[in-house]
Symmetry: C2
Subunit: 210 residues, 2 copies
């Protein structure tokens, strides 16, 4: 009985997922999402948090249960039932995860160009991406992919990257401001070679549906 965590972030204009390269055994050199066995005295969510922290040194992410995968043969070594979670992180530009000796490698991979994955992890990542796509349409979930203060253009970029399509700037702003999901910060993003942007922040920094 295991948990797996699909940790997404956005970097260099792409949706990224944190993957680990398996060091040895039958799945050697294949990639997978971080996962591990559930201990007797921890909840599912505690297990995911512990494993994410132990394996990737990441904590404080948005977490949501995704789906439980229990097909026979998903891990050819033994019967494995896994509760998959998806997680979101506002990864600072250029922030990298330290490698651990237990894995051959650990990297943020572009979700649109996944390497060869072990187990059914391709399916798990796709399911997570689908859920994310759907959920940005009726919740403020993107707060967890943005810094506290952000411009509406940055926010629109997050939407466009997740959805994989361009959105109309005026309609996007009308919608977002109409929902009263965000409010103006008193900060302004300057220092670029063009007009400074008004910054906003979420009125709620926890999952809220609309």
């Amino acid at each position: 009985m295991a948990v797996d965590a699909v940790l997404f972030s956005i970097d260099k204009k792409k949706l990224r997922v944190l993957l680990i390269k398996i060091k040895q055994g039958q799945y050697e050199d294949k990639w997978c999402v971080p996962g591990g066995l559930i201990l007797a005295e921890e909840t599912l969510e505690e297990a995911v948090k512990r494993i994410l922290f132990q394996k990737t040194n990441v904590s404080g992410v948005y977490l949501e249960q995704l789906y439980t995968f229990g097909d026979l043969g998903r891990d050819s070594r033994s019967r494995a039932i896994s509760v998959a979670y998806f997680a979101l992180l506002n990864k600072p530009e250029g922030y990298n995860i330290g490698t651990t000796p237990y894995y051959a490698d650990i990297e943020w991979k572009n979700v649109a160009e996944l390497p060869e994955l072990a187990f059914d992890h391709k399916k798990i990542i796709e399911t997570a991406h689908q859920r994310l796509k759907a959920k940005i349409g009726y919740s403020n979930i993107v707060y967890s992919l943005l810094p506290t203060d952000f411009s509406l253009t940055q926010m629109q970029n997050v939407y466009e990257i997740i959805l994989g399509e361009k959105l109309d700037k005026r309609n996007f702003r009308k919608k977002i401001l109409g929902i009263e999901l965000v409010e103006k910060s008193n900060k302004i993003l300057s220092g670029q070679a063009y007009r400074p942007a008004q910054l906003y922040h979420f009125t709620q920094r926890r999952l809220t549906l609309f």
Copy 2:
């Protein structure tokens, strides 16, 4: 590692859930949804189907994974992680489930007036009801709660019972017929003391989103 099945049906104008009364032990005389342990060589869905059939003699229902419950102490006898499914059945009027010697009782209970439930099964049933409420809004899932041929009034009743509110007849029909979810059968429901209804059937009798 277990599965639980929240089996809904509609009878006597109420949303019903199939519950089992526990015969002995700490939870004696409390009610719960049918559930049981997953065998080593079966998938989650196979486990649910087997358990539903063994415990309630029901088969051929709509099945969908709901959520995995794994909190500590949800079963005070031991650590229990359970993958909950929700299931839908078109229960013929007056159709009853035979009792089994393993349980004190088995009954279709009104979801709005649940008896005292063991474990976290109240929460599981509420989660399932929520999912059902949401899903009738963007899928043809109600096909599994209706006979092959049905009148639009019958269908509207199913919606109203699940949502717990009255809907406007003209708007309901406009919407349903506009989606092209159903088509006219060549049957007509007569034999009642009023105008016979045109019957319809679903164009797809499998889950379809819109």
